[in-house]
């Protein structure tokens, strides 16, 4: 009786102790995480981030994502007025062609910004009309730019100095310097996505285009309208659909060549690194250390080294992926080889097969599903890394993306590339998932 009692007391003590320990852990882990986050909060200077953050940049970025602006620019030396989408030469309206909200009459240009806002260029003068505020007149004088506004102090959306005046409203923006007067007009949508201004199909609705494609006279004699439309779209000078398609292709190509090449090189080497295939210790050990080294050096460093030898382009990216993947595949393949069922190899051996035949008929059929599934997984994730590697080596969609971001103005192109990259990755995921299910029927893990 006494014995069981002491045993019970012991048990109770152990259980209470365990509970107490568990409770301490349950409190300590969140506390440690919190402590670490506090340290990071100061180490990463998050309080200073608020000052550094450029919210105006965020506003530009967001508005560029879904809208575009058209510049109406008057050269104050020659008096010439040009209308250009995003201020690009490829988006410049040719002489005699103007958007509906701009009217020209001799030296007077009227720009209707909508909701009662308008800008008029009259010689060197520019007049902004705001229905709520009144009329603002800007004029080039001898002592810089003269600004005439309704009485009272200047509102915050006008900034004026002798050399530069800026008027920003929610309908648009007017700025004047000594050399030029410029108005920005914002419209929703991505401009000239299908056809540029010089294309015969510019400004036509989808129904009209369909009608032209099916029947209707040939716009360019000797070329079917559909073919002309396709080529006008493909060679669009603003959006470069052709180059973008090539870039996406290059990125996928890098991932494909890298994955396949890495797998082909890693497979024979993995036999050397598997303990049941290579009984000798020395080559096995050497092979494993080589794999570790290749994986440890990291894609970034391989990419840099290879870029020096092969120059920028998709081949360099493919080789960088190939080398990194050889290390990763070497490890996982040799693990798969070590997990095979030896009985099948025994059976093949009993028929007098040599090492190569044993590998071909006893080992490969067993590991094929596992290896294929690993290769497809790697292909999937390599499509993503190929974007980053492309940014470093200068190839594929990664290059286009970084270039578009570095110019800091074509955010609509950045949005376009982002959408394309996401679609590409999702498509590759779906494809590899489908292939895995088709090729590896009965993969019980079904991962």
């Amino acid at each position: 009786m006494a014995v069981t009692e002491t045993a019970q007391a012991d048990l109770q003590a152990t259980v209470t102790g365990l509970f107490a320990r568990k409770r301490r852990v349950a409190l300590a882990v969140p506390a440690l995480i919190l402590l670490y986050l506090v340290y990071i909060f100061f180490a990463f200077d998050l309080p200073g981030l608020a000052n550094r953050a450029r919210m105006d940049n965020a506003a530009i970025l967001l508005s560029d994502f879904w809208s575009h602006k058209t510049h109406v620019t008057r050269d104050n030396r020659s008096g010439k007025v040009t209308v250009a989408i995003e201020g690009e030469s490829k988006g410049t309206y040719p002489d005699g062609m103007l958007p509906s909200w701009v009217t020209q009459d001799g030296a007077v240009t009227r720009i209707d910004l909508g909701q009662g806002h308008s800008v008029v260029y009259e010689g060197g003068k520019a007049i902004y009309t705001d229905p709520a505020y009144g009329t603002i007149t800007l004029e080039q004088g001898d002592r810089g730019i003269q600004i005439t506004t309704p009485p009272g102090p200047l509102p915050p959306w006008i900034s004026a100095s002798d050399t530069r005046v800026d008027i920003k409203t929610d309908r648009g923006r007017l700025s004047m310097t000594r050399s030029k007067t410029e108005t920005f007009y914002y419209e929703p949508g991505w401009e000239l996505f299908f056809f540029t201004l010089d294309s015969p199909f510019y400004g036509k609705g989808p129904l009209e285009l369909a009608a032209m494609a099916v029947s209707g006279p040939q716009v360019k004699p000797g070329v079917a309208n559909v073919a002309l439309m396709a080529s006008e779209f493909w060679n669009n000078g603003m959006w470069h659909h052709k180059d973008v398609a090539w870039a996406i292709g290059e990125t996928i190509l890098m991932a494909f060549l890298g994955t396949v090449g890495g797998a082909l090189i890693a497979l024979p080497l993995a036999f050397l690194a598997a303990s049941n295939m290579t009984p000798a210790r020395a080559p096995r050990f050497a092979m494993r250390r080589i794999f570790d080294f290749v994986r440890g050096v990291d894609a970034l460093i391989w990419t840099i080294v290879l870029a020096r030898a092969f120059g920028p382009g998709p081949l360099t990216g493919a080789l960088a992926i190939l080398i990194t993947d050889t290390g990763a595949f070497g490890k996982t393949f040799s693990e798969a080889l070590e997990n095979i069922d030896e009985k099948q190899v025994e059976g093949i051996r009993s028929t007098g097969a040599n090492a190569l035949q044993r590998a071909r008929f006893g080992v490969i059929p067993q590991v094929t599903p596992v290896l294929l599934s690993q290769i497809l997984y790697a292909f999937e994730s390599n499509t993503r890394s190929a974007t980053v590697i492309g940014a470093i080596v200068g190839g594929g969609i990664g290059l286009l993306l970084t270039q578009a971001i570095i110019t800091q103005k074509d955010w609509e192109e950045v949005a376009y590339y982002m959408v394309l990259i996401v679609l590409m990755v999702i498509a590759m995921d779906t494809l590899s998932g489908w292939l895995r299910r088709r090729l590896i029927k009965g993969d019980a893990a079904g991962r």
Binding site: L253, D298, A309, G313
Partner: protein, 291 residues
């Protein structure tokens, strides 16, 4: 005896038919695999040709040069080898920043992934109708490469570690969320039922019924992600902001004369990756095998 002889003839005929059938099937299979192999080889060959043609330098011209840059770097660093230990110490703060970026983003990403995974697992979801929504959300955050988010955020937030951290955390949330949800799908639902019967709320059911079951698996996945994120954080530094990657870029841009710095950075980056890989490998083995 005669009985056996009478039955053996149809049997051997059956065998013959079977053999013929088997051989035709084998031939067919070989033909198909042959065609498949041919297509595959063709695809790889043309792919290589295209990549080679679009590269600035060709494969064969570049091959002899592959070692020239490493030799150049190493020989210069060898000449200045006395500097390397000092430089390694100099770059330790950047290395800590890179590791911190990886650690915080793994932590935040894993916490987000926990919530997303539980919300998108059949049988566990708080709002079963919304599971497809959370799944698509994970798909999208997984699909956007880190570099895209990082570069856009650098434009808004300026340089430094924060853009990289947010970018990696987002990707981690999507990638881990998928793995977490797969692990949670295999969890035993009996503890949840027990907790439901005593009137536990959803958070209590998850915290007490599911998390203890899946914790080893989840921790193992998170550790694996930490390894990946260290590499990602170094690469993001090279392309955009903070950490050791940025120092590497600066040293590389300088070119000859700073190769001792390049070697120092290579060395500590390599060592860090190998050490973290080893530790996490060992710990993961322990977690999964329950030793």
């Amino acid at each position: 005896m005669s009985d056996a002889a009478a039955t053996s003839t149809p049997q051997s005929r059956d065998m013959k038919a079977l053999e013929a059938l088997y051989l035709t099937q084998v031939r067919q299979k070989r033909l198909y695999s042959g065609i498949l192999l041919l297509l595959f080889v063709l695809l790889v060959a043309t792919g290589f040709q295209t990549a080679n043609a679009r590269n600035a330098g060709g494969f064969l011209q570049g091959l002899p040069n592959i070692l020239s840059f490493p030799t150049e770097v190493l020989s210069e660093a060898w000449a200045n080898r006395a500097n390397v230990p000092g430089l390694i110490v100099k770059f330790i703060p950047s290395l800590i920043e890179t590791v911190n970026i990886a650690a915080v983003s793994t932590l935040i990403g894993a916490l987000l992934a926990m919530v997303l995974a539980l919300l998108s697992t059949r049988g566990l979801a708080r709002w079963p109708r919304l599971t497809p929504l959370f799944r698509r959300l994970m798909d999208i955050t997984r699909a956007i490469p880190e570099i895209v988010i990082a570069l856009v955020l650098i434009f808004i937030l300026g340089g430094g570690p924060v853009p990289a951290m947010i970018a990696i955390a987002m990707h981690t949330a999507g990638a881990l969320g998928k793995l977490f949800s797969e692990a949670a799908e295999n969890a035993d639902l009996k503890p949840v039922e027990g907790l439901t019967s005593v009137g536990a709320s959803w958070i209590q059911r998850m915290w007490l019924g599911i998390i203890p079951q899946v914790a080893p698996n989840w921790l193992s996945y998170a550790l694996m992600r930490f390894e990946i994120n260290i590499r990602a954080s170094a690469i993001l530094g090279f392309v955009g902001s903070g950490g050791i990657g940025y120092d590497l870029k600066i040293a590389m841009q300088w070119g000859a004369g700073k190769y001792d710095q390049v070697v120092a950075i290579f060395l500590i980056l390599f060592l860090t990756i190998v050490v973290v890989d080893q530790i996490s490998d060992r710990y993961r083995n322990r977690l999964v095998k329950g030793v």
